[in-house]
């Protein structure tokens, strides 16, 4: 599936390295920069 600008961002909940889960829906009201990176030990 290819996403496009103007579409709603798909919802997700993932565990974080800070021992907490993060849900996208909890971040309504703020801008979110979501960066995917191929693997740790590579530049983010």
């Amino acid at each position: 599936m290819k996403l496009e600008i103007g579409q709603p961002a798909p919802e997700f909940t993932l565990p974080s390295h800070l021992d907490k889960f993060v849900s996208l829906r909890d971040l309504r009201g703020t801008n979110v920069v979501l960066t995917f990176f191929p693997m740790a030990w590579t530049p983010i």
Binding site: M1, K2, L3, E4, I5, G6, Q7, P8, A9, P10, F12, T13, L14, P15, S16, H17, L18, D19, K20, F21, V22, S23, L24, R25, D26, L27, R28, G29, T30, N31, V32, V33, L34, T35, F36, F37, P38, M39, A40, W41, T42, P43, I44
Partner: protein
């Protein structure tokens, strides 16, 4: 700012540590493997994701997509430019606000919650406080370095959110039982 990769949590932790600590969440899309990367159309057949940036606005709408050359690092300057375009007040105001926050004294007395904007437990705690009609103040540890430092002292170097300072008694994490105990004692006084 959220980072996502298909690495598992211990790997992300080790990596963050090797970089001297990363304070924004690195999310593990390890299991089911790459599910979120796939949802965003950036999972490669090799099993890891593209190097990609999505900017999502406050309404949950995608405003910017950059599927980057996997071997080169996206420029922070470009990213700032895009953020300014999408929300002029955010990106330009940020450094200034942070400067101010630095000098801001930490509140004490009553219920003070040390939290972040992004953590789900902080959100649950907010709901819980509201449901119980408890007055409280919030300190965003991402915006206030002094608060982050204080939190680290309390939690032994970890940044556990939410953490509460209730009239000087520290409750680490959203521990409803403990919170109830302390609030009961407080009422009895």
């Amino acid at each position: 700012m959220l980072g996502v990769s298909v690495d598992h949590i211990p790997c992300l932790k080790a990596w963050a540590e090797s970089l001297g600590g990363i304070h924004y969440p690195l999310l593990s899309d390890f299991w089911p493997h790459g599910a979120v990367s796939k949802l965003y159309g950036v999972l490669r057949p090799e099993g890891y994701s593209e190097r990609a940036i999505f900017i999502i606005d406050g309404f949950g709408i995608i405003r910017y997509i950059d599927i980057h050359d996997i071997d080169s690092q996206p420029s922070n300057e470009d990213l700032r430019k895009e953020l300014r375009r999408i929300d002029p007040k955010v990106a330009s105001g940020m450094p200034h606000e942070q400067q101010n926050a630095k000098n801001e004294a930490l509140p004490s007395g009553g219920i003070v919650m040390y939290c972040t904007k992004w953590c789900s437990d902080c959100r649950r705690a907010r709901d819980w406080l509201k449901t119980n009609n408890l007055e409280y103040r919030e300190v965003d540890i991402d915006a206030n370095p002094r608060a982050a430092e204080q939190l680290k002292q309390w939690t032994g170097g970890k940044r556990v959110t939410p953490t509460f300072d209730i009239d000087g008694t520290i409750v680490i994490d959203f521990d409803v039982q403990k919170l109830n105990e302390i609030l009961k004692e407080r009422l009895a006084r």
